[in-house]
């Protein structure tokens, strides 16, 4: 679950009722369709949202199901969550995931911020492509190429380091885009004004640029965090045998069967990702657009 769609437009209560009313003059919005057309629109929207969210709802529901089988509802329980807390492998995987997410998104924020500032200030032609290619590239391709690079070129033992480098690689572009779009909305002459008024380049960065891009840095960090914590494909290639992350752990569990414990851990992961995305959206309202 990567993209949060905007909520459906809420119709005005009471709703006018006269079908085919002309658009309100002075308003730039299209007139809302009336009568039958409106009903269809609602049905279609409901269908789309059901398609998107019903499977997730089922996972959440069955994580509280008092049965080993994901077949029918038996009764409410929290024992699957309880079991999670006592599962050593699962806790280790969660700790790994959190550590990787923290470190990789910190590094990606630093590098991505530098890339974003450079993109805005010097308008390079190549840099945006270089920073954004890992974002657009199929994950499986990135995974394979990173694996080859780590093993054949660097001769690196796969593990925490290789996962970290891989996660930084695909996160930089997101941070760069967010920082850049924040700077693009600003009057560029304020940076010249700071220099003009006696600030050295470093003082200009510290007093002007940094405070202004802080929300973008926070949003970029959180975005990189969600990308890292739920990444499966790339991590699968570069993890090696020693280190297991949460998505890898879940995958290895469902190879046997989708147990209620998987539902429980998925619910928790979902909750974490969702709250981080919402937090990021509060820092930078255009973040979601950047991610989509």
């Amino acid at each position: 679950m990567r993209v949060e769609p905007p909520p459906p437009p809420t119709p005005r209560p009471g709703g006018g009722g006269d079908g085919g009313s002309p658009p309100i003059s002075g308003s730039t919005r299209l007139a809302r369709p009336g009568g039958g057309a409106r009903l269809w629109l609602w049905a279609a929207s409901l269908g789309v949202y059901a398609f998107l969210y019903l499977p997730l709802a089922v996972v959440v529901l069955f994580s509280f199901n008092d049965s080993v089988l994901n077949a029918e509802w038996v009764g409410f329980t929290t024992r699957w969550y309880d079991r999670l807390l006592h599962d050593g492998d699962m806790l280790q995987a969660a700790a790994n995931s959190l550590l990787i997410a923290m470190v990789s998104s910190s590094v990606a924020t630093l590098l991505g911020a530098m890339a974003g500032i450079a993109m805005q200030r010097y308008r390079p032609r190549l840099l945006p492509f270089l920073a954004l290619t890992p974002v657009a590239m199929p994950e499986i391709l990135l995974g394979v190429s990173l694996l080859l690079f780590f093993r054949q070129v660097l001769d690196l033992t796969l593990g925490l380091t290789s996962i970290l480098i891989a996660h930084v690689t695909f996160s930089i572009g997101f941070v760069a885009v967010i920082v850049r779009s924040r700077l693009a909305g600003m009057d560029e002459s304020i940076f010249e004004a700071a220099r003009d008024l006696g600030a050295t380049p470093w003082a200009t960065f510290r007093r002007i640029t940094l405070p202004l891009i802080l929300p973008a840095l926070a949003a970029g960090f959180l975005m990189a965090f969600t990308l890292s914590i739920d990444d499966f494909v790339i991590t699968f290639f570069v993890a090696g045998v020693g280190v297991v992350t949460l998505p890898l752990q879940i995958y290895s569990m469902i190879k046997v069967a989708v147990t209620p414990e998987v539902n429980a851990v998925s619910t928790l992961l979902m909750l974490l990702t969702l709250s981080v995305v919402i937090l990021a959206a509060r820092f930078a309202p255009d973040t979601l657009k950047a991610k989509a």
């Binding site: 009057d187 010249e192 220099r195 003009d196 003082a203």
Partner: protein, 361 residues
Amino acid sequence: MALLEIRNVTRRFGDFKAVDAVSFSIEAGEFFTLLGPSGCGKTTILRMIAGFDDPDAGVMLLDGQPLTGIPPERRPVHTVFQSYALFPHMTVAGNIAFPLEMAGKSRDEIARRVAETLALVHLEDKGGSYPHELSGGQKQRVALARGLVNRPRLLLLDEPLGALDAKLRVEMQSELITLQREVGITFVFVTHSQQEALALSHRIAVMNRGRIEQLDEPDKLYGLPANRFVADFIGKINLIEVEVAAASKVLLTLKAAGLGEIAAADARPLQPGERGCFALRPEQIRVYGRKESADLKNRFDGSVKELLYLGDVTHYKVVLANGFAIEALMPNAAPGRAKFHEVGDAVTVCWRHDAGIFLRD
């Protein structure tokens, strides 16, 4: 010694010469204006003085010291940007304190100077506001205060009134004059508005295509433009194509095709046959009915083609015998003015022999 001296400064962008071997100097305490159409090089000169750009050739001296290689933050020159460039995350007081903090002033001095400067621009009660809470005119004042607070040797103003509405612009013009007189700091003002330049400046450099066409005081620029470009750019003017017919020591006789002879005062040694244009301001022209008498040497018959009544004055366009539409401005409260002339009226336009000037090509 001049405060700022610009000697043969050239700046190229590719094949385009934005500034072409420009030289001028500015004295301390002066209100100096660079005036010209967009793309004439005036902003490039300003950016080079501020340190955001470097000349390809030539020297710039501030207090006799070359400016080359000195970064913007170490030049005693501050800029008021067209967009104001206020720091959006700082209060008004924070913005004004910024240059003082960068200069390492003490906390007490910063507080005192910020308060003084806020009073100077009449914003005593806005110190705690953020830029987005201010009106355009208030932002303008904050930008001015921020540029002035650390007492630069030069204050550069890049079209600072461009973003204000017409009424506010006029108000800010007189405030700028007062402010500059009070603080005694040298202002270098860049504008494309000739009206603004005339109203504010001690001296104006009129620029075109990277060169200075004329550098003079406002009344000289208006009254004695050096060439066609300056005459046309500053104010409204009639430019009549002429040829020198005869030149004595004081009186010049010009021949305008299809119109006849024009008498002008000119002491220059001009040769018959020289071509150029006769430049005449609309307000120098009188418009009379055919029967009214006017004891002036330059009299030409025509008919009113258009008129624009503006309350205090009326603006006439009169077509002369050779088809030239001459523009005239008549004050409506002039003594002895009998009536308005209507469109289509046969009239006589006349002017004193020293009313216009001959500009050689």
